[in-house]
């Protein structure tokens, strides 16, 4: 643990990977590794966060991420409260700040926020006394997912330095891609993006990623292929003509995957539309590390909760944003 202790983790809030240095990211993952073993014990519980209160404020539906944070908190003996509601621009009446004030009355030690508006964690952090962890904000970032993706790649490849990572699909609307691109490039990987131009956001090259002309180009020689979920419900903006055409032109199938390295890792943030982003044989094939991603998600979230509330540090920086 000497290497771990050498790094001072100075983030009060977890807004995104953008604020994190390479050392921060490596430190979180090293911490997560040390927690991962707890999940393999017969009694999967340590007293690390006993007496601490974790509020999961999920203002946009998400079963998977919420469950993962909840399990992470419980394995460290924290008390968890889940608050869920659906927000939309029409329910402006109760603002996120009203909600925050009510939660303050419970004296939480951390609030884990999922919200449909990009930047909502910054707003919340300005109005509460405790740390805020971003569990996905709009189309901005999903830092815990980015970290678990990094952790999964590191477990199989040892390092991200020099890896070719292809991310295929709806980059524009993916907060996972937002975090992944920053995290992967910061750790030295070469990130290639592929998809129809309707899915590639303006100026994304400023993050260090490159845009491939075709999925084939992106996948060729890749060490990791990550497919992103296609949101079937997006209709107001005509992004693709049909899932059928998308599956044929951009889906990750066996034929496309053969262009990648032999030891390629296939990833997906889930839930998968089988037969659309990815053919079933690829999703369930030997390359797939999709279930490792889920397991690592708990470990990463344990690490984040521990680092913002449990490590007893008092060298906290003022809230950003």
């Amino acid at each position: 643990m000497t290497e771990l202790q050498a790094h001072v983790f100075k983030h009060r809030h977890i807004f995104g990977l953008e604020q994190m240095s390479r050392e921060d990211i490596e430190f979180i993952i090293a911490t997560a590794r040390s927690f991962k073993e707890i999940s393999n014990r017969s009694i999967k519980k340590v007293p690390t966060l006993r007496g601490k209160t974790v509020v999961n404020l999920f203002l946009e539906p998400s079963t998977r991420t919420r469950l993962s944070f909840e399990i992470a908190a419980k394995r460290m003996s924290a008390d968890t409260f889940n608050i869920a509601s659906s927000t939309s621009s029409t329910t402006k009446g109760e603002t996120i700040i009203d909600t925050a004030r009510n939660i303050e009355a419970m004296n939480p030690d951390v609030i884990v926020l999922r919200h449909s508006s990009s930047g909502a964690p910054y707003l919340l952090a300005r109005h509460v006394a405790c740390p805020v962890i971003n569990a996905g904000d709009g189309t901005h970032e999903h830092p815990s997912q980015g970290l678990l993706d990094i952790m999964t790649i590191l477990e199989h490849k040892g390092s991200l330095q020099g890896l070719k990572i292809a991310i295929v699909g709806d980059i524009s609307h993916s907060r996972v891609a937002g975090s992944d691109i920053i995290g992967f490039t910061r750790l030295g990987a070469e990130v290639w993006l592929a998809g129809p131009a309707t899915f590639i956001p303006y100026g994304v090259e400023s993050t260090g990623a490159r845009i491939a002309a075709t999925v084939e180009d992106a996948v060729t020689g890749a060490d990791v292929v990550m497919a992103l979920r296609i949101q079937k419900e997006r209709q107001q903006d005509p992004l693709i003509p049909s899932l059928r055409e998308y599956a044929i032109r951009y889906g990750i199938n066996r034929r496309r995957l053969e262009r990648a390295k032999d030891d390629v890792l296939v990833m997906h943030p889930g839930p998968i539309n089988r037969g659309v982003e990815m053919s079933p044989d690829v999703a369930d094939g030997t390359w797939s590390v999709i279930l490792d991603q889920v397991t690592n998600g708990v470990a990463v979230r344990m690490a984040l909760l521990y680092l913002v509330i449990g490590s007893g540090k008092d060298n906290q920086e003022p809230g950003e944003g």
């Binding site: 953008e18 621009s89 402006k92 603002t95 996120i96 700040i97 919200h115 508006s117 990009s118 930047g119 909502a120 910054y122 707003l123 904000d137 709009g138 189309t139 901005h140 970032e141 907060r175 937002g178 956001p201 303006y202 100026g203 994304v204 090259e205 400023s206 993050t207 107001q236 950003e320 944003g321």
Partner: protein, 427 residues
């Protein structure tokens, strides 16, 4: 009783009279008179040494929120802010609640403004309720006092409606002011589309959402021969279209706002809702072209698009926050920054902030000629001040410039012969 006001030692900049030099301005009643022509026995005397005396500034694009949203701004508070910022007149957009689409709302605004420290020129709606479906009654509103029509806040998406608006407004001598935005292209967007929007995960509004409509407006002005004024122009592509239209003699005029030549989309970082406006803050390349176009005459006017919003609309999620910033009290220092950097001459500043707005709206002012109405502003170009929330006279504080040290400000504002704002102090 006719009060006499004498302002001495100021640098008088009056482009219409082609004058720029130290001198005296005498005011008797509500007129500018020639020095020495009236009894100066108990005149109020100002020493304006080191300052500029210019025709009263006119902001041709503000939102006063009354009637309907008085918690954000009232005609009284808005005109106090105007006078403090050096404006002797403002044109207020019709997107109040209810919309100013009929003579009685226009009359209400005029009446309410009568006792205020700055003139208020109501602008009527292009269409009833600004819904873009039926023409509003321009003749009745004109009689009640409107100086132009616009559906500002909403683009007129139907091109035939805009064509008819131009023709009908033209027959009543009114210009049409266009809020140029292709609503389908900008839908759900909350900032400029660029690498900053991508980084922040915020839906972008491409520059083309504006320039597409700017081109349509130019084409319609050309078709009808009627006067079209383009509001809050923010992009390089729009500037290019306007420049070429003017070369062909199309009857278009255009304004931009201080924030478009001062800030870029970088100001949104940190999800700062005080940098959220529509059109959004653009790229550095756009900003440079906007500055150039102010200097070379492509733009006719600088208007603030003063858009007060309370914390209720601003201290919320960025994508849900209201568009707009206040601007009346910062326009002079922000514009002066261009003069200091050599991008704008003093004369051009006066043309952009006074002469041309008066001409476009067809209202008095814009000159210090003897006999003209006594609307004038004294600007101290070197005084520095911290722009703080406490000092803001507007009812709302939504400005990205709060906390900044600004240089140059209006120190005396006289409207219709009456002092509306005074930091110069008579002696």
């Amino acid at each position: 009783m006719t009060a006499v006001i004498i302002i001495r030692n100021g640098r008088i900049i009056d482009p219409i009279n082609d004058s720029d030099g130290t001198g005296e301005i005498w005011i008797s009643g509500n007129r500018i008179v020639s020095p020495g022509s009236v009894d100066a026995g108990d005149a109020i005397r100002y020493d304006a040494a080191g300052s500029w005396v210019v025709p009263g500034l006119i902001d041709m694009h503000v939102h006063l929120r009354e009637p309907g949203e008085e918690y954000k701004e009232t005609i009284a508070s808005g005109t106090r802010a105007a006078a403090a910022g050096g404006f002797t007149a403002v044109a207020c957009m019709p997107n109040t609640r209810p919309v100013n689409d009929n003579g009685s709302i226009t009359t209400f605004i005029r009446k309410t403004a009568e006792t205020c420290p700055a003139r208020v020129y109501p602008v009527g709606a292009v269409s009833k309720g600004s819904r873009g479906e039926e023409l509003a009654e321009y003749a009745e509103m004109k009689e009640a006092g409107i100086v132009a029509v616009t559906d500002d806040g909403h683009p007129v998406m139907n091109s035939q409606m805009m064509r008819r608006a131009l023709e009908y407004a033209g027959s009543h001598g009114l210009p049409v002011i266009s809020h140029s935005e292709d609503a389908a292209l900008s839908r759900n967007g909350c900032m400029h589309e660029g690498f900053v929007s991508t980084r922040l995960g915020l839906r972008g509004i491409p520059a083309a959402a504006e320039s597409i409509m700017v081109y349509r407006e130019i084409a319609l002005a050309e078709l009808t021969g009627c006067r079209m004024h383009l509001a809050h122009v923010s992009t390089a592509a729009s500037v290019d279209l306007i420049r070429r239209a003017k070369e062909r003699g199309v009857p278009v005029t255009a304004e931009t706002a201080p924030h478009y030549f001062t800030l870029t989309d970088e100001a949104v970082r940190g999800y700062n809702t005080n940098a959220k406006m529509n059109p959004p803050l653009r790229s550095e390349a756009d900003r440079r072209v906007i500055i150039e176009a102010l200097g070379d005459g492509t733009f006719d006017a600088i208007a603030t698009d003063h858009a007060p919003h309370s914390v209720l609309e601003k201290d919320i999620e960025f994508d849900l926050a209201a568009n707009g910033i206040i601007g009346l009290e910062t326009a002079v220092p922000l514009t002066l920054a261009l003069v200091r950097s050599g991008r704008l001459t003093e004369r051009r500043l006066v043309e952009l902030l006074s002469v041309n707005p008066a001409r476009i709206l067809g209202v008095p002012g814009g000159t210090l000629a003897v006999g003209a109405t006594a609307d004038l502003t004294v600007i101290n170009p070197t005084i520095s001040f911290v722009y703080t929330e406490e000092a803001v006279l507007s009812k709302s504080h939504n400005s990205p410039f709060l906390g900044q040290t600004l240089t140059g400000k209006a120190v005396l504002t006289i409207c219709d012969g009456r002092v509306g704002h005074d930091e110069l102090q008579a002696r």
